[in-house]
Structure formats: structure tokens, C-alpha cells
């Protein structure tokens, strides 16, 4: 047990990979055994991540916990260095939750090349978890890129009609972003010794040789020149913005989503996009705060465009999956807007909304996947009046629609409301445009729901549709529970976030915290 607790992050991260390696020895004709094994690995992966939540010290949520630090490539100064704070804790749990659900949802959908499919899903899981636990920039980058390969295969082999196009587009876009990110990392790497040499408090802690230690980069941020910070911000920005994806780098997303198999879409929307926003939170904001502040107007403008444009395009989609994909663009715009309000409310809301988006969009992709499995089409016009043949399905769909548009009592409301608070404090116009996004979001989601679920059942092909089965319920129930949990009692989540967020704001705008004790009281109230 001691060993487990001492290496919990490593175990949680590499457990799916170990499961994948065992899977490779299974005979590929034994499909049910493969499915059972993959599901078992997924569920066990979630189970072993629960102690992270139980043992996490929320009073020190801004400190990195469960740290493991070993030498790796000494010639470069790259280490195996992992640890999590409140922000990464939530994202890791989101990942370990969505992973098994994605695996479970594929049970009947994937009939060809089953073994490879689950192998890639499990490999992807390790890649994503690795991104969230890394405290070494080199290691972070390795995981960040490794993850592209399994996702490429998931889209390219098990995808829809234009899968090859979508897969290569996904790979190329993300790769272009990440190589520029790499240059930013290198620039920091080489500037570190010159700063450490003159600032003893830095060198005492992190040494004087070039390092990839993220904490060391956090420590040197006050000494980075404005101009340098702006360049680094841009290099990081392209890498992370493509992943988020922010307008105008979003064009890979609808293709990837539409062509990917259901589980791929769930993981893509639920976790992969969060890697971009996580990158901003973990790297851009604390390492180059001056660069961030310089580019706030640009990022805010792009976010607002994404919110409104994503929503408008979503409204016009004839394909359900594409509609949900564009809604992702709009929602991620929200997340970015809240983050770049750079105040506690905005940041808190932004992170909570990342979790919410993972839950509700993940669920919506599962829902679309269920329909697709039954009818092999996602065209909205093919449906209508489904609530009469699939009442349980209609209920679940309704809950997730409400969660997505931010109805009170459900998770979306908490996130959007907090972001709006933050945006309002920063600039009233942000809140105005952001608010219009909420209205539009309600419009396209409700319209989608109305067109598919209500009305008369006119298409004879829909008359004999089966309602949700036990397995499908099993994929939805955890998401419904979390959606209500965040909606009704978000305090534990904010508890994990408050401290890391305050730490970020201190870096970005110390005067903000001194001048506004009112805010502190307010966030206390919410608890």
C-alpha cells in the first residue's frame, strides 16, 4: 500500500498502458474477452484514481502533491517529475471518468479490428493523463505529442466516410501548433541559466544549469523581459489555441468530431480540448503573465468571435454531431473568455466550465452515438417524435441538453454564471457578448431537441427504435450524477480550485486581490 501511495500518479497514468500491453497478447478473434478486459482496465483505472481525491490535501490545493521526481535524461536536464495541484486533480479525474465510459460505449459499435481499437484507446488514456501530471516541460511535450498517434488511428481506421482527411487534418494542425510550442519551451530552457545566475533565490532552489522544471519556470517569470514574454506567449498561444481550439484555428475540430467514432469524439471533446486550456493555465498564465496581459484583448476578441460564431454555425447544422462539435467551439470560447478575465471568478468559472464541458458534451456525443448506432444516420431531418418510442432516451437527452445550455440546478449553470461574473468585472462588453452566446446556445440546443424528440413520429424507420439498454444507461448515469453534483453542490470543486486560482491571480494582478477583499467574501459565500 505504501508503494501504491508513494507512486500513485505514476500508477494511475501508466495503468492503462500496462493493460494495453496485456491486451496485445489476446487472440484478436476473441472479441468479447477483449471488450471485457478493456472495460475492466478502464474501470480499475478510475477506481485507482479515486484515492487521489480522497488523499488530496485541499488546504494546500495550490501546492503540487503526490510529487515524484527522478532523473531521466541528465544530459538535457529533463526529469521524470510529476505532481498535481487542484486544477490538474479535477482534469485527471475527468479523464479517468470519461475513459471507461468511452470504452464502455464502444461495446457494440466497434466490430472490426476490435483489439487494436481498445489498444489505441488505452494508449490514448495514458498519453492524456501524462500531460496532466507532468511537472517537467520535456516530459509534458513527449506526452503531448505521443497522444496524437493513437487519436490519429482512432479517427483514421474507425472513422466515418472522410476519415482519412479528418485524421490527417487533426494530426497536421496539432503538430504545427506543438512544434511552435516546443520552440517556446526551448527559449525558456536556454534563458533559465542566465536568470538563475543573478537571482540566488532561484538558483538555490532549482540550480543554475538549464532545466525543464516547470516550477523553475514559474519562479523566473518575474524576471523575464516584456518583449521576451510576448514572444513566448505567442509560441505557446499557437500550440494551445489550436488544441482548444480557438477561432480561427478551430477548423480541424468539426471534421475530426464528425468522422471520429463515438468514443473518439467523447475523448476528443471531453479531454483533448482541455489539454489546450490546461496549457494556458499551467504555462502561459504563470510563466509569461506580462505577455498574457499584453494579449488579453486579442484573446478576448477571438473568444467572443468563437462564442457567437460557433453558436450561429451550430444552429445551421443539419447533422447532429456537427452541431455538437460547433457547440464545443462556442463553449470553449466561453472557457477562454473566463480565463482571460484574469480574475478569481473568471478563472474559477473557466476551470469548472472545462469539467462541465467534458461532462455534458461528452454525454451529448454518447447520445448522438446511440442514435447513430440504431439508425446509421445523424441527419436531424431524419428524426422527429422520438420521445414517443424512446422515452428514457428522451429524458436523458433532455437532462444533458439542459446541462449544456446552463439551466440552474445543473452543472452548466454554475460554470457559465461564474464566468459571466468574472467577465463582467473585467469588461461589461465581454459579458454582453458572452451572454448572447448563452442565449444562442439555448436556441440551438432546444431547437435540436424539439426537432428530434418532439412532434409527430413521421419517419417509419424510427417506429421500432429500441430504448436505451442497460449498458447505455451505465454510460450515462455517472455523467448525470456528476452533472447534478456540480449543479447542486459545487463547493468541493471550488475548494480544489480556489487556492490555485488565487495563486495565479497573484501572479497576474496582485493589486486585484488587495483592492478587492469583497471578492474573497463572495467566494466564501458561495461555499
Amino acid at each position: 500500500m505504501d508503494f501504491f501511495h508513494a507512486h500513485i500518479l505514476t500508477i494511475v497514468t501508466f495503468f492503462p498502458l500496462a493493460g494495453m500491453i496485456v491486451l496485445l497478447f489476446f487472440g484478436s478473434e476473441n472479441k468479447n474477452l477483449i471488450r471485457l478486459w478493456a472495460n475492466a482496465v478502464g474501470i480499475a483505472g478510475f477506481a485507482i484514481s479515486i484515492p487521489l481525491w480522497l488523499r488530496f490535501d485541499f488546504d494546500k490545493a495550490d501546492q503540487f502533491q503526490f510529487v515524484e521526481h527522478y532523473k531521466w535524461i541528465q544530459a538535457l536536464g529533463a526529469d521524470y517529475h510529476v505532481g498535481i495541484d487542484g486544477i490538474s486533480l479535477l482534469l485527471i479525474l475527468l479523464t479517468t471518468l470519461l475513459g471507461p465510459l468511452a470504452i464502455l460505449s464502444s461495446w457494440s459499435a466497434i466490430e472490426i479490428r476490435t483489439k487494436e481499437y481498445y489498444a489505441f484507446l488505452l494508449m490514448l488514456q495514458t498519453g492524456m493523463l501524462g500531460v496532466f501530471i507532468s511537472l517537467d516541460f520535456f516530459m509534458f511535450y513527449v506526452f503531448w505529442e505521443v497522444m496524437l498517434v493513437p487519436m490519429y488511428f482512432l479517427i483514421g481506421v474507425w472513422g466515418g466516410a472522410r476519415k482519412l482527411y479528418a485524421a490527417i487534418k487533426f494530426f497536421l494542425y496539432t503538430l504545427v501548433g506543438s512544434v511552435l510550442l516546443l520552440l517556446g519551451i526551448l527559449a525558456l530552457y536556454f534563458i533559465y541559466p542566465s536568470i538563475a545566475a543573478v537571482h540566488p533565490e532561484v538558483s538555490a532552489q532549482f540550480g543554475t544549469v538549464p532545466t525543464f522544471n516547470i516550477l523553475a519556470f514559474h519562479a523566473i517569470s518575474p524576471y523575464l523581459l516584456q518583449n521576451f514574454q510576448e514572444w513566448i506567449f505567442l509560441a505557446f498561444f499557437i500550440g494551445f489555441a489550436i488544441k482548444v481550439p480557438m477561432f480561427p484555428f478551430h477548423t480541424w475540430l468539426p471534421d475530426a468530431h464528425v468522422e471520429a467514432p463515438t468514443a473518439g469524439s467523447v475523448i476528443l471533446a471531453g479531454v483533448l480540448l482541455k489539454m489546450g486550456t490546461y496549457g494556458f493555465l499551467r504555462f502561459s498564465l504563470p510563466i509569461v503573465p506580462e505577455g498574457v496581459k499584453h494579449y488579453v484583448p486579442m484573446v478576448a476578441a477571438l473568444s467572443i468571435i468563437a462564442i457567437v460564431y460557433g453558436a450561429l454555425v451550430a444552429m445551421m447544422q443539419p447533422d447532429m454531431k456537427k452541431l455538437v462539435a460547433y457547440s464545443s467551439v462556442s463553449h470553449m470560447g466561453f472557457v477562454m473568455l473566463g480565463m482571460f478575465a484574469l480574475n478569481p471568478n473568471g478563472l474559477n468559472g473557466s476551470i469548472i466550465q472545462q469539467i462541465n464541458h467534458g461532462i455534458s458534451t461528452g454525454a451529448l456525443f454518447l447520445i448522438v452515438g446511440m442514435i447513430y448506432e440504431r439508425r446509421h444516420t445523424r441527419e436531424i431531418a431524419q428524426f422527429g417524435g422520438l420521445s414517443s418510442v424512446m422515452p428514457q432516451f428522451a429524458t436523458v437527452f433532455l437532462i444533458m441538453t439542459m446541462s449544456s445550455i446552463g439551466l440552474p440546478l445543473l452543472n452548466g449553470f454554475i460554470g457559465e454564471f461564474t464566468i459571466m461574473q468574472g467577465a463582467f468585472q473585467r469588461n461589461i462588453w465581454w459579458a454582453v457578448f458572452g451572454g448572447s452566446g448563452i442565449v444562442l446556445g439555448a436556441a440551438y440546443m432546444l431547437w435540436l431537441y424539439q426537432r428530434t424528440m418532439f412532434g409527430k413520429l413521421e419517419n417509419p424507420a424510427n417506429e421500432k427504435l429500441q430504448d436505451m439498454n442497460l449498458r447505455e444507461w451505465a454510460t450515462m448515469i455517472p455523467l448525470i450524477i456528476v452533472a447534478f453534483w456540480i449543479g447542486l453542490y459545487p463547493a468541493p470543486f471550488f475548494r480544489a480550485l480556489d487556492k490555485p486560482v488565487i495563486k495565479l491571480v497573484q501572479k497576474l494582478d496582485p493589486s486585484y486581490l488587495q483592492g478587492a477583499p469583497r471578492l474573497e467574501a463572495k467566494s466564501g459565500e458561495r461555499r
Partner: protein, 480 residues
């Protein structure tokens, strides 16, 4: 200068000397031994013996033949690359030559002679040694490219390669004669000293530098001197293509490092500018041309052009990181690229060309192991972690950033991103298309060994590069 030839000098060139004798031995044995595959094994043994001699020189720092040649860690590092490349190339040749019905003893002897030439190149610190060893390598390679006597493509490739090679050697000689005229010496250090005493914009120095660079750029197939490469690579026996793409390139780079970082170092501001332009063109043209290829040999030929463009970055950076990057990149490239070529060789069957991307279709279903290995080699060529290629690219980009060549670094990384497009075309064929009757592999134990070695090294360097980096660091002392 003292005594020109000392008996001890023979010890210094023992690895090369052994290869010459062994190669001649193979030529004689060719008359007796009927099963030519055995000669391949004999040649591999010869390379191992040479490796043992090389190992004994590990850590030795010496000059031989009155300063014509040096023995140092840099030379030893590159000599090791040549020996490894030659061994792996012979291992993939044996079956291949049988299929082509061209299995002759002189093939193996020629590879040994070419390798010997390369090993001298790595140690040459004098224009004469450099030129003679370069030609030793080149002439052996010309013959090897045309080794498929009955194949028109092979003959054409050989002739093209020979004509352009001879032409570029002429240009190179022109530059060398100017340098000799300036300095009155053929030693690199004397040349450097003479150049440093002349003004930076001295027209004769410039002329010498430009012609010398042009000759060198031809040898590494840098744009705009790359035109011969796709034809030569396509026409040559695939095993020789594999050998050329790694060993000839590595040898030329070893020579370039000595020439540019020692002999014409005083001209550095000028040659850095030229080299940066050439590097950008080489990467970009190589990658963009590779996108449109449907013949795997041509595709990999263009890809190897672009790789030369990346490696030039290390020379442009010119500091310790940059030169380590050159060394480590070439080492990694040797294993990864030979691995990829080994898969292409395995596609070759009697009377089938086996070079079109279609012939890789559905390889995964017929032979999952080969397909997965190829995937890893391609990812390594593209520089995706956790493969060795990433470490190599990482070092190159790092050296560019460290020395402030930011624009060059941006162009290079964007090129690395473009390159994934054509590498993935092969992946698409292997994993996402249905197999057809053309997808068959022919294996031999030697080929499997090559694949295994290339795979293990590629993954090992990718995950734990420390030992290899320290090796390269020893080869490149600070202030090279």
C-alpha cells in the same frame, strides 16, 4: 614536420587497413566460394574486426602521417556510424541480391572499400587526404549504384551520379586549389590561419569558400545541388540506396564539420548566411517534393534530402550543442533510416519492382510486425516522441534557439510538421487500406536482425538517450 612515416602510424589506421585487406581477401575468395551469401557474412565479420581495432583506438588522440590524418573521438564516433551502416546494409543486401540475381563477391568488397574511404574522411584534416578518401568512397559508390547490370534504371542512375559527382568534385578541387594558393599549405589549420589574416571580404577567399561549399553541398544533396539524388536513389539497388542515404551522407557531414569548423572557420559570417539559405531550401524543397511521390524509394530519397537540410542547422548553430546535434542526428538517422529501408527491401520479390506505395497496402493485415516497425521508423523520421528521431530533432532545434537563429528554427519545425504528411501516407497504406495480392514480404534472418536492431536502438534512444548523448558529447569537446 619530422619523419613523414612512422611505423606507429599503421596502428592509427588499423581499422581502415584491416578493411582494405579484408576487401581484397573477399575478391580472391570470390573465385573459390560459390555461395555468394557466405561472402556477405565474411564481409560482416570483417567489419566487426575493424570495429575491434576501432575500439582499441577509443580515447586515443593522435595525429598520423605528419598531420595528414588525426585520430580523435570525433573521427571514432563517425567511423562507428560507418561500420554500423555498412554492417546493416550488407545484412539487408544478401537476400536482395539473390532476388535480383546479381549476387557477386565484388559487391561486398566495394562496400568495404567505400566504408574505408569514409573512415579516412572522418579523420582527414588535410585537403589531400580529404580529397583522396572522398574519391575512394565516391568511386566505390558509383559502381555500387550501377550494380544491377541488366537494369536500365540502375545503369542510368550510376551514370548520372558519376557525371554529376565528377563535376562537383571538379568544383571542390577548384576551391581547394584556391585555398592552397592562399595559404601555401593543404593542412586545415594552416588554411584557417592564412584566411584569418586576410580581410573578411577578400574576393579570393570568398571564391574559394563558395566553390568549396558548392562541392560539399552536392555531396550531401542539398538544394539546389540535389537533382541527382532521386534518380540515383531510385535506380540503385535498394540496399545500396539505404547505405548511401545514411553512410555517404554521414561521411560528407563529418568532412563538412572539419572543413567548415576548422579550415574555413574564419569565413564563418559568410558561410553561415549561405548555409542558412541552403538549409531552408533543402528542408522545404525536400519535403514538398516528397509529398507528391508515389514511389517509396523516391519518397524516401526526397525525405533524405530534407533531413540533410535539418542537419545543416547544427553547423549553422556551430556551437557545441549544434555539433552534438549533427553527430547524434546522424547516428539516429542511420538506424532509423536503415530500418525503414529494410522494410522496403523486404517488399522486393523476384520480377516485382516492389516500390509503389500501393504495394504496402494492408501490410498490417498480412504482416503486423513489419507494419508496426515501419510505423515506428516513420514516426522517428518525422520526429515524433518517444522515438529517437525526436531526440535528434530536439537537439537541432535547441541548437538553433540557443544561438539565436529563431527564424530558421521556426521554418525547420514547420517543415518537420509538413513531413508528417507524406510519412503518414505510407502509414495510411499500411494500416487503413485493404491488402492486395502484391502485399507480400520476403524475409531472411539477416533482414529480421536488421529490423530488430534498428527498432531497439530507435526506441532506446527515444526513451533513454543519455548514453548516446554522452558518446556524442565526448566526440565533440567544447570549443571544437
Amino acid at each position: 614536420m619530422g619523419q613523414f612515416f612512422k611505423l606507429a602510424d599503421l596502428g592509427a589506421i588499423a581499422p581502415e587497413l584491416e578493411l582494405i585487406l579484408w576487401g581484397m581477401g573477399i575478391l580472391i575468395a570470390d573465385l573459390i566460394i560459390k555461395d555468394k551469401k557466405k561472402l556477405g557474412i565474411v564481409a560482416i565479420v570483417g567489419l566487426f574486426v575493424s570495429g575491434i581495432f576501432l575500439f582499441r583506438l577509443n580515447g586515443v588522440e593522435a595525429t598520423a602521417y605528419g598531420g595528414l590524418l588525426v585520430i580523435d573521438q570525433f573521427a571514432n564516433f563517425f567511423k562507428l556510424i560507418f561500420l554500423v551502416a555498412a554492417t546493416l546494409a550488407i545484412a539487408i543486401s544478401m537476400k536482395y541480391l539473390d532476388i535480383e540475381r546479381e549476387n557477386h563477391g565484388e559487391y561486398y568488397a566495394l562496400i568495404l572499400f567505400a566504408t574505408m574511404g569514409m573512415m579516412f574522411m572522418a579523420g582527414a584534416v588535410d585537403l589531400v587526404t580529404m580529397y583522396i578518401s572522398l574519391e575512394t568512397m565516391a568511386i566505390a559508390t558509383y559502381v555500387l549504384v550501377g550494380f544491377l547490370r541488366s537494369s536500365q534504371r540502375s545503369n542510368e542512375a550510376s551514370l548520372k551520379y558519376f557525371l554529376l559527382g565528377a563535376f562537383s568534385s571538379g568544383i571542390l578541387l577548384y576551391g581547394m586549389s584556391l585555398l592552397y594558393g592562399i595559404s601555401g599549405s593543404t593542412r586545415f589549420i594552416d588554411i584557417a590561419e592564412a584566411l584569418s589574416r586576410r580581410p573578411l571580404n577578400d574576393p579570393i577567399s570568398l571564391m574559394a569558400m563558395i566553390t568549396l561549399s558548392a562541392g560539399m553541398f552536392f555531396k550531401i544533396a542539398a538544394v539546389p545541388f540535389h537533382q541527382w539524388t532521386p534518380d540515383a536513389y531510385e535506380g540503385a539497388p535498394t540496399s545500396i540506396t539505404a547505405y548511401m542515404s545514411v553512410a555517404v551522407k554521414a561521411a560528407s557531414f563529418a568532412m563538412m564539420v572539419r572543413v567548415f569548423m576548422v579550415a574555413i572557420y574564419p569565413m564563418r559570417p559568410h558561410w553561415v548566411a549561405i548555409m542558412a539559405a541552403v538549409s531552408v531550401m533543402t528542408m522545404t524543397v525536400g519535403n514538398i517534393a516528397a509529398i507528391t511521390q508515389s514511389n517509396i524509394k523516391r519518397l524516401l530519397a526526397y525525405s533524405s534530402i530534407s533531413h540533410a537540410g535539418y542537419v545543416l542547422i547544427g553547423l549553422i548553430a556551430g556551437n557545441q550543442t549544434g555539433l552534438i546535434a549533427v553527430a547524434i542526428y546522424l547516428l539516429i538517422y542511420t538506424f532509423t533510416n536503415l530500418g525503414a529501408w529494410a522494410v522496403v527491401v523486404a517488399l522486393k520479390r523476384r520480377d516485382v519492382i516492389g516500390e509503389h506505395i500501393d504495394e504496402m497496402s494492408g501490410l498490417f493485415f498480412k504482416n503486423p510486425v513489419a507494419a508496426i516497425l515501419m510505423l515506428i521508423f516513420l514516426l522517428s523520421l518525422a520526429g515524433i516522441p518517444p522515438t529517437a528521431g525526436f531526440i535528434g530533432k530536439f537537439y537541432l532545434f535547441a541548437s538553433a534557439i540557443e544561438t539565436g537563429h529563431n527564424t530558421l528554427a521556426v521554418i525547420a519545425v514547420l517543415n518537420a510538421a509538413i513531413s508528417i504528411y507524406f510519412y503518414l501516407r505510407i502509414v495510411v497504406a499500411m494500416f487503413m487500406r485493404e491488402p492486395n495480392e502484391k502485399t507480400e514480404l520476403t524475409y531472411s534472418p539477416a533482414l529480421l536482425t536488421v529490423l530488430a536492431v534498428a527498432f531497439i536502438v530507435t526506441m532506446f534512444i527515444g526513451i533513454y538517450p543519455d548514453p548516446f548523448i554522452s558518446m556524442a558529447r565526448l566526440a565533440i569537446p567544447a570549443g571544437f
